[in-house]
């Protein structure tokens, strides 16, 4: 099963739920068949809690054009076909803007002089290893680079049938990096807080995950007890199950601030996260 954990609003506890769910999977045998992918490549945080050993690193690169000046006739076809304004043919020179390039290869295909080759432009890295027996990987977008999606796409190549369960920790928001983290999931778990901001962004996340992508969804109500009843009423009216409630608890906030997991700080939560996993599996099958 591929389980994506998302939220719309930031800071609702996606990483907390993802990490503790992963750690609550009971046996070592099960953990070895568990894959954890931190898809929040702009601000990856899961490693701060799982503390994985990093066994391998690889670059994430977008293939950007390189213009052979001796062959370029400044014909400008590349500029016409590029949808991202990443290449500009001037009368005497053709300029490439690597940060804007999506790496589609369109300019190289279109150049009548075959003056364009492609070279890698590194935009981030992927690190992978093990944490408490769990297979772990995350992507890290380089500071100053705008495009997170290619990093997530490359990270997701690790998904395979060797794993019984893959937990994907998604970024906040509802834009393309979130969509990439949700695409292909079997179940979408949305972590929210019962506040007007939490509800507003939960609705948007449901629009993306359930309505656009057709995924089954369930909700975790975190910091339950703050705010108002809006999230409960919304889930009830939409028929979205609330699979777990975590009360507002200063002990959890303090443990989080120090990088300590909920199951370490409050061991009674291990059972609760196992129950959450059972509920997800049950909902996912229906």
């Amino acid at each position: 099963m591929i389980l994506t954990i998302a939220s719309g609003k930031g800071g609702t506890g996606k990483t907390t739920i993802a990490v503790n769910l992963a750690l609550s999977v009971a046996s070592a045998e099960q953990k070895s068949r568990l894959l954890f992918l931190d898809c929040d490549v702009e601000e990856p945080n899961a490693h701060l809690f799982l503390k994985p050993s990093v066994a391998a690193r690889e670059d994430v690169a977008v293939r950007v054009p390189r213009v052979d000046a001796s062959r370029c006739t400044h014909h400008g076809r590349c500029t016409v076909v590029c949808q991202f304004h990443a290449i500009a043919a001037l009368p005497n020179e053709t300029l490439v803007f690597p940060e804007l390039c999506h790496g589609c290869g369109g300019c190289a295909l279109a150049c009548p002089e075959k003056a364009i080759s492609e070279e890698p432009h590194v935009i981030g890295i992927i690190e992978e290893g093990h944490a408490d027996g769990i297979n772990f990987a995350h992507g890290v977008l380089n500071v100053g680079e705008p495009m997170a999606t290619p990093v997530i796409r490359q990270l997701k190549r690790r998904l395979s049938n060797e794993y019984d369960l893959a937990i994907l920790d998604a970024p906040p928001g509802t834009a393309c990096p979130v969509v990439e983290s949700m695409r292909g999931a079997d179940f979408l778990l949305l972590v929210t807080e019962p506040t007007p901001f939490g509800l507003h962004d939960l609705r948007l996340a449901v629009q993306v995950g359930r309505d656009e992508l057709g995924l089954p969804v369930g909700v975790v109500a975190n910091q339950d007890g703050v705010g108002d009843a809006g999230v409960d009423e919304y889930c009830e009216s939409e028929g979205i199950p609330i699979l777990m409630r975590i009360p507002l608890d200063r002990r959890i906030a303090e443990a989080y601030s120090r990088g300590i997991t909920v199951v370490d700080a409050l061991p009674e939560y291990r059972d609760r996260f196992q129950q959450l996993m059972h509920s997800i599996l049950k909902e996912g099958q229906e």
Binding site: G8, K9, G10, G11, T12, T15, D40, E42, E43, N45, L48, V81, Q83, F84, H102, G103, C104, G105, G106, L109, A110, L141, V143, G144, E145, P146, M147, A148, R153, P171, P172, G173, T174, A175, C176, P177, V178, V179, R183, T195, P196, F197, H200, D201, L204, Q207, V208, D211, E212, L213, V226, G227, D228, R250, A253, E254, Y256, S257, R258, G259
Partner: protein, 297 residues
């Protein structure tokens, strides 16, 4: 006219709460424009009771569409697509199709299809709004769920807010920024006079602070830091202060944890309008320091 953006890197640290409060406090001293640059999950309007004045459609992206009648099933599009957006037919000879969610809009298939069976559609990507609030004009936007080009929509609303500010003689544009460090953050940050980083004293908060300060530095934007819920972990608050001192970055406020921030949100008001407690007092300090800082830029 000065532009101040509120950022955090990590989501949910209180950007919108702080931005709304700064908007309220600044508006007591000078005419301002408010801008919500978190276009894929915008929340600023929820605490400002805006009166909608104008609504505009936003178009930017393109999506490939294959005409099944013209498709010759050669598979060239699938071979060339680097975004896994071309769906092969179940049976040979049937037409190919595009997964519009995966399509990047690069138009490689459009230009390379030997049968010219591909066209590029331009779906509407969202809306942007001009509203009035008790504190000044508000520019906000809504990127349709799952659509691309949030950075371009941010650039659009940035321009609109700036134009309103210049035209109306507003002294400040207060921008509620998006989380992360990617395209929409870059679009919200470039060319502003000051970035205010709202950080919680947690291991994640500090990790993400380093990266968002990197973005500000990369684009030459001066930054200051406000620690939110500082009393959740005093040790980490001190760590942030030391880290900032090393980088010569001013910590302009330490806002205590209090459920009044959530109560204000539920009431649909900036926290500084809702109550006169410790949070409001500290946010007044934050605003006066931010004001002095941008006066120097």
């Amino acid at each position: 006219m000065k532009q101040v953006v509120v950022l955090s890197g990590k989501g949910g640290t209180g950007k919108t709460t702080v931005a709304a409060a700064l908007g309220h406090l600044a508006s007591q001293e000078a005419p301002i424009v408010l801008l919500d640059a978190d276009v894929d999950a915008s929340n600023l309007d929820l605490v400002l009771s805006p009166q909608l004045r104008a609504k505009h459609d936003f178009f930017s992206s393109k999506v490939a569409v294959i005409d099944p009648a013209s498709c010759q099933s050669c598979g060239r599009c699938q071979e060339l697509c680097r975004f896994d957006a071309v769906l092969a037919p179940k049976e040979d000879g049937e037409p190919y199709a595009i997964d519009s969610v995966a399509c990047e809009g690069c138009a490689v298939c459009y230009y390379q299809c030997p049968a010219e069976a591909v066209r590029m559609d331009e779906p509407q990507d969202g809306l942007w709004f001009r509203s009035d609030t008790a504190f000044g004009p508000l520019v906000h936007a809504h990127l349709y769920a799952g659509h691309e080009n949030s950075g371009k929509l941010v650039a659009e609303v940035r321009q609109q807010a700036k134009a309103i500010a210049l035209e109306g003689g507003h002294e400040y544009v207060i921008i509620d920024g998006p989380p992360g460090i990617g395209c929409s953050v870059i679009a919200a940050t470039t060319g502003v006079d000051l970035a205010l980083m709202v950080i919680e004293p947690t291991v994640s908060g500090i990790h993400d602070l380093e990266r968002i300060l990197g973005v500000a530095r990369h684009f030459g934007v001066p930054a200051v830091v406000c620690v939110n819920k500082y009393d959740i972990n005093l040790e980490k608050t001190n760590e942030i202060a030391d880290y900032c001192a090393d980088l010569d970055i001013e910590v302009v406020g330490r806002v205590p944890f209090n459920t009044i921030a959530t109560e204000a949100m539920v009431a649909g008001k900036p926290v500084t309008v809702y109550g006169d407690g410790l949070i409001t007092e500290e946010l007044r300090n934050v605003w006066s320091r931010v004001r002095d800082k941008v006066a120097d830029t």
